[in-house]
Amino acid sequence: MEASVIIDQLKALPAPALAAAVLVPALDMIRRRSAISADRPASPRPDCRLHPGTGIAIAAAMLVGLWASKAGGWSIPPRQSTDWFAVAIEAGLVATVLIALVPGAKPQLAVRVLGCAAIATGVCWKLARSTWAVPESVAWLGGLTLGGALTWVAFDRLGRGEVAAPACDPASIDTSAARPAPAWSGPLVVAVWSMMLSQALSATDSLLLGKVAAMLAACFGVATAVAFFRPRLRFAGGPAGIAALLGIVVVFSGAYYSGLKLWMAVLLGAAPVVTALVDALVLRRVGGLWRGVLRGATSAVLPGIVLAVAIPAAIKASEDMGY
């Protein structure tokens, strides 16, 4: 890749990373202080509420990154596909607050599905009205909504860390024999996934989409570091939604408007779900550092297949162009 392109992408990362480094610990500190001052009575039920602090911090950091790097527009309603970056993050911010206010697992799931359906409908609306036949519209809308919701749920489950899942999520697997996963392993999975997504998009004709995914990786990379030193950082809820909703926009744009092959998009979309399943079925008896490392490695397998094909092709193309 040409040096000027690499520089352009790297220059987009410090702003969101710095914002996340300030906001993530700051909002987590506010959450802890408010929890202590609330002096709630003891309850036999676990606290299943998902706190919005980390989600708000990640959303704000991403918006700072978009603004600083001029990646995408801010038109409301969105005028073009790149205007949906900001909208997806803003929708994730709203979902973060809603999920924090909704106590039960089913209502929280409804927020996730509705959020994904809204963003999927938004990015597909013009095409569904003017270009696609009904089956194609249904396939794209259904696929993006389902894929986004599954990704969101997968990231959420991985982000629960030491928070007990079964009592809060009736659909969860019995974890009686499970060992707790470190808090930093949740954001690590998102950071690894979005970093590899960034490389896949960059290798398939869209450096702009790759830059946005790289900013997401930078924010979650910072969140990983913060969680490493602050093990009780709450990650589940909003942050996963921001990654899932923004993922819908960039994966769709890459697959439909740019050169990302459909099979590549499917593998990239499936990676978080596969990671959550492997974690629940295989890794659950592993704890500590290795649990986090194995989670991160698992999340890189399917994107790794995509990159194994896309990067050599991109290098060949660059040579053809004399870069």
């Binding site: 890749m1 040409e2 000027s4 392109v5 690499i6 520089i7 352009d8 992408q9 001029k70 527009g73 005028r79 073009q80 596909s81 790149t82 490389q199 960059s202 290798a203 398939t204 004709d205 869209s206 450096l207 702009l208 989409l209 744009s253 439909y256 408007y257 740019s258 050169g259 896309a310 990067i311 991109a314 290098i315 193309a317 660059s318 053809d320 162009m321 870069y323």
Partner: protein, 205 residues
């Protein structure tokens, strides 16, 4: 990492828009009348086979990279009170490298599936010299519409190939700032300004 970036892509985009505008202006020029006269002119239809829409953009502040658009259509009537209505298919961008063309068609540059056309529709055409005109109109690229005034030179006219009807040719050259049309990708590698050169031939309808 990868990459095919579109050095030429940005330039192409801008160029296309500019070219469209310029083309429109040129094409519109006084078909069927002597240069300088302003009676009601014929309406000319763009002859894509004998027309060129080119762009140039500077790569790494070093050398000009040229490209073209292969699908141009529309009508023109260059004269006082004439009209220009030219459309260029963004999917027809041709930078001389198939891989780079793919990048130029992506959201980094033209987003050709999302914005398949760029266009210029004149609101007024004024005569500025013996064979020169200025066309003012709306140039639309990537969904962004801006008013643009394009200088036009009438380059010739005469009978058609088979002696039927009339043909006329125009050329325009102008420069746009690509970021004004939402193409701000790769500012370090590609110049902000893109020059568009439009040379169009049209036949009377």
């Amino acid at each position: 990492m990868t990459s095919r970036r579109g050095f030429g892509a940005i330039g192409v985009t801008v160029a296309v828009g500019l070219l469209a505008a310029g083309t429109a202006g040129f094409l519109g020029g006084a078909a069927g009348t002597a240069p300088g006269s302003t009676p009601m002119a014929d309406t000319f239809q763009v002859d894509a086979v004998h027309s060129s829409v080119l762009y140039r953009i500077k790569h790494l502040n070093t050398a000009w990279s040229y490209g073209r658009f292969n699908d141009v259509s529309g009508t023109f009537n260059i004269a006082e009170g004439g009209t220009i209505d030219v459309t260029v298919k963004t999917d027809s961008v041709d930078s001389g490298n198939e891989k780079r063309d793919g990048h130029l068609k992506s959201p980094d540059f033209f987003s050709a599936k999302e914005f398949p056309e760029m266009s210029f529709k004149s609101s007024s055409i004024t005569k500025t010299g013996d064979n020169t005109f200025e066309a003012t109109g709306t140039f639309t690229l990537k969904g962004v519409s801006k008013e643009l005034t394009v200088p036009i030179e009438k380059t010739g006219e005469g009978p058609g190939m088979r002696g039927q009807g009339k043909i006329q040719g125009f050329e325009a050259k102008f420069t746009i700032n690509r970021s004004e049309y939402g193409m701000n990708f790769m500012p370090q590698g590609l110049s902000e300004q893109v020059t568009v050169i439009v040379s169009l031939e049209g036949g009377s309808k």
